[in-house]
Amino acid sequence: MIYMLIGISILLALIFLLAFFWASKTGQNDDTYTPSVRMLFDEEATGKIDQKSDEDHL
């Protein structure tokens, strides 16, 4: 029983290690700065400007 549990725990850890390998291979660790800025941009940004032009029509 214990042997199996240890085996499973190591297997699980190995999966995470492989996941890290995959991430590094696909270049996800190459740029660690830009994504942190990118996520702050509003996709709705252009909508605001459209609203303004609507007001002008009124």
């Binding site: 214990i2 240890i6 850890a13 290690l17 740029d31 830009t34 800025v37 702050l40 941009f41």
Partner: protein, 801 residues
């Protein structure tokens, strides 16, 4: 609310796009004020594509657009395109551009929304730290040249040069490999530690059955650590040993090997638990140290040569037709067209037009050189006048300028900086081996062979210089990031140790100790805007450096033409502008009372026989130059190597200890040779330079430092790049470098103390895995925290933090 208020305030005095001061009559569009047409143009493009948010994320995110847009015809040439793109098929093209102007979050936002400007752009991704953008676009609807032109129009001109930095970086995957090794080592370290805990805390009778199982698992985890992660240590130790060098990798490799073999032996023979966790931890920490040392600046290049200064292509004239030609295909006898502000790529004969060439970057000569028809024009000059036609007489690689790079200095490997850990490890390895053999022999003598073996291996294990190997990288990495904050960028950590040893400083003049954007004038007296215009239009006619700087400083477009212009060389100029007689020059020239000596050159102004006051050029030398030479001169030799004429000799005499140390009219080769002579006299030479003409001297010197006012600009190959604004901090940097070496010495002492403690158990043959497992991480953590804290404390003392 408060934010929008401050914003309107900025807008009133500064350009809405780039934030520069507004000129006398700013350009106005939609209540926004701009400093030049370029900035206004960028705003227009952005607002017409609903990209106004560019201005919302940051105030004044743009770059000044005063400089002219480059000509990009060569980007239509298929051979050049093939060289530049990452991928291309019939539909789409992928290209990576290096764009120096990328500097804030607005840049990221705008460049990733390029598709709104032109729908042919499918995707654009920025790598901010590398200042690169990868653009995927439909090549049927948009050509590469059009893409580059779009980027230039919105103020993000890509830098395309012969020496493509982008390509080199893409192929460099060693960083990834190291990180992967760290991941594996960390993974094994964690697991072995967990599996070793039961052994350390003691197993009850019931749990004894797991002992072997844990041992085997531990050994299995050691395999990848030794043979994958630790592979480099073995190969490096072996290569160095073959060359008769004992470096720190030797005791490390020995420690790893012995630890592995003894663990395997103990586990096979069921005589003990082995040192699996210590082994994995050791390799893990070592790799982390190596990673720390590998600090890279993605946006800087220390290996640039003339190829990144020259353009990619040149305009070829053939049967009266202009066509772009890749520079490497340029042959002897080709006729080329050089437009205003372009660089002459090869030695050539002037066939048509007037050449006014700025050689300041190549020779250090600050005054433009005029050439007449039939004269030979050397490569590297920048044409200031109109377009000229030239016939190439030598290929690019053989020209007067580029020949410098054929010098042996450039082919020799510069990896010759002696580091402290390199020197110390020699003695350390010898001492370690003799202690190990000595204790082994002692126990053999006492006829206790098992103890002899135990003590011999234990010494090699416990004294494995992990903490020792980490003290240098962690100290130097901390100092590197401190320098980095102060805009002093070093190529690698060994440069810091070299900096601490320097005893001779050599300065280039033009661009290095003089500020290229030079004079900052201040006017004493009263002057109106129109009078400034008159002065500028008069001074425009003169070739004197002060006049040229004055025109540059006033920065007004030409309005009037001077009549009856007269120039008395070295004294002053006069002329009729807009009907007014204007005189500029010395007090003697104007016939007025001399003023007391002022710190800098003066230009006195007289308009319509009325004395108005004088311009004082406040900054002839770089900020803090005087204090710097005073400070450095106390302990070190100072020399000046200038490619310029002697016109500044007099004003430089007070700064340099002896007139024999000042040399003018030096060719690039002269500079290189001069450094060599100094080195032959046993000096450690640091060279400050900025231009291509210093490239040889920078390479030859023990430490070449390139000074630049904009780190995105071209800098010649060097060991370190210093931002001009930090010029006055050089003494602080040197003190910090010396302190860093002191910190390394101290941490060496600490780790030796830990080693001695471990050896106390080891030589007695009583080293248990538990002691090793405690000592190794404890010493490592002590070293890491000590070095980073000490480096920062010293930095505070040296006013660098």
């Amino acid at each position: 609310m408060a934010m929008s208020k401050t914003k309107t305030l900025t807008v009133e005095t500064h350009c809405y796009h780039c934030g520069e001061d507004l000129p006398f009559s700013p350009y106005i569009l939609a209540d926004k004020q701009f400093c030049c047409l370029g900035c206004q143009g960028v705003y227009q493009i952005l607002s017409s594509h609903n990209l106004d948010n560019y201005y919302a994320y940051n105030d004044v995110p743009g770059q000044t657009q005063k400089t002219q847009a480059p000509r990009l015809e060569y980007l239509d040439e298929p051979t050049i395109i093939a060289d530049l793109v990452d991928y291309q098929d019939n539909e789409t093209t992928v290209i990576t551009f290096y764009i120096p102007a990328i500097h804030c979050s607005s840049c990221i936002w705008l460049l990733e929304n390029l598709y709104k400007i032109n729908p042919a752009i499918i995707q654009s991704r920025i790598d901010f730290l590398k200042k690169q953008v990868v653009i995927t676009f439909k090549n049927k609807a948009l050509s590469l040249r059009e893409l580059a032109e779009i980027l230039s129009r919105i103020g993000y001109e890509p830098l395309i040069s012969l020496q493509d930095v982008v390509k080199k970086q893409q192929h460099d995957v060693s960083d990834r490999q190291l990180i992967r090794k760290i991941a594996v080592a960390g993974f094994c370290f964690g697991n072995t530690m967990l599996l070793s805990f039961p052994e350390y805390f003691g197993l009850s009778g019931l749990e004894q059955q797991f002992k072997d199982f844990f041992g085997w698992l531990n050994l299995a985890f050691c395999l990848p650590v030794v043979f994958y992660c630790g592979r480099d240590y073995f190969s490096s130790a072996w290569i160095n040993l073959k060359n008769g060098v004992l470096n720190l990798d030797f005791p490390l490799a020995l420690g790893i090997a012995v630890m592995f073999l003894r663990s395997a032996a103990e586990i096979f023979s069921r005589s003990g638990a082995g040192f699996a966790d210590t082994l994995c931890g050791l390799v893990f920490f070592l790799l982390v140290g190596r990673w720390m040392q590998k600090h890279t600046y993605h946006h800087l290049s220390f290996e640039r040569d003339y190829r990144s200064y020259f353009p990619v292509a040149v305009t070829l004239l053939k049967e009266n037709k202009e066509s772009p030609l890749p520079l490497n295909q340029l042959k002897q006898g080709d006729r080329i067209l050089i437009r205003s502000n372009e660089i002459i790529p090869a030695d050539a004969i002037l066939l048509n037009g007037t050449a006014r060439l700025d050689f300041s970057f190549v020779t250090g000569e600050s005054i433009p050189v005029e050439k007449v028809l039939g004269e030979v024009v050397y490569a590297g000059g920048r044409q200031l006048g109109g377009a000229i036609e030239l016939e190439v007489i030598k290929p690019v690689s053989q020209s007067y300028l580029t020949r410098l790079w054929n010098n042996e200095t450039f082919t020799a490997d510069k990896d010759r900086i002696k580091t402290f850990s390199g020197t110390a490890s020699k003695y350390f390895s010898v001492a370690l081996l003799s202690v190990a053999i000595g204790s082994g022999l002692f126990w053999l003598f006492k006829e206790d062979p098992s103890k002899a073996m135990a003590s011999f291996t234990a010494v090699l294990i416990i004294a494995c210089p992990c903490a020792l190997a980490l003290s240098s990288p962690f100290t130097l990495a901390a100092v590197l990031s401190i320098f980095d904050k102060n805009k002093f960028y070093l190529k690698n950590t060994a440069v810091i140790e070299e900096l601490a040893r320097i005893d001779t400083f050599v300065f280039d003049k033009t661009g290095t100790i003089t500020n290229p954007e030079a004079a900052n004038f201040s006017f004493s007296g009263k002057i109106t805007a129109i009078q400034k215009q008159w002065i500028s239009d008069l001074a425009r006619n003169s070739g004197h450096p002060l006049s040229r700087e004055l025109v540059k400083w006033i920065a007004l477009p030409k309005q009037f033409t001077a009549l009856d212009y007269q120039e008395k060389v070295g004294r002053g100029i006069s002329g009729l502008i807009d009907g007014q007689l204007i005189c500029l020059g010395s007090t003697a020239f104007l016939g007025i009372e001399p003023v007391p000596q002022l710190p800098g050159s003066t230009v006195h102004v007289m308009i319509a026989d009325q004395y108005l006051g004088y311009f004082l050029s406040s900054q002839q030398w770089r900020n803090g130059f005087k204090d710097l030479v005073l400070h450095l001169g106390r302990h070190a030799g100072l020399h000046l190597l200038s490619g310029d004429q002697e016109h500044d000799r007099k004003s430089l005499i007070p700064f340099f200890p002896s007139i024999q140390h000042m040399h003018f009219r030096q060719s690039p080769q002269n500079k290189l040779d001069y450094i060599k002579t100094l080195q032959n006299k046993g000096h450690k030479v640091l060279m400050f330079g900025d231009g291509l003409n210093d490239a040889g001297a920078l390479k030859q010197s023990d430490l070449g430092v390139a000074i630049t006012d904009n780190i995105n600009n071209f800098t010649p190959g060097c060991d370190a790049i210093l931002d001009g604004s930090s010029f006055s901090r050089i003494p602080n940097f040197i003190r910090q470098a010396k302190d860093a070496v002191r910190v390394i010495h101290m941490s060496f002492g600490i780790s030796l103390a830990y080693n001695a403690l471990g050896l106390f158990f080891a030589v007695q043959g009583t080293l248990s895995p538990l002691i090793a497992a405690v000592l190794m991480p404890a010493s490592t953590i002590t070293i890491i925290s000590f070095t980073s804290i000490a480096a920062r404390l010293y930095a505070r003392k040296n006013h660098l933090l």
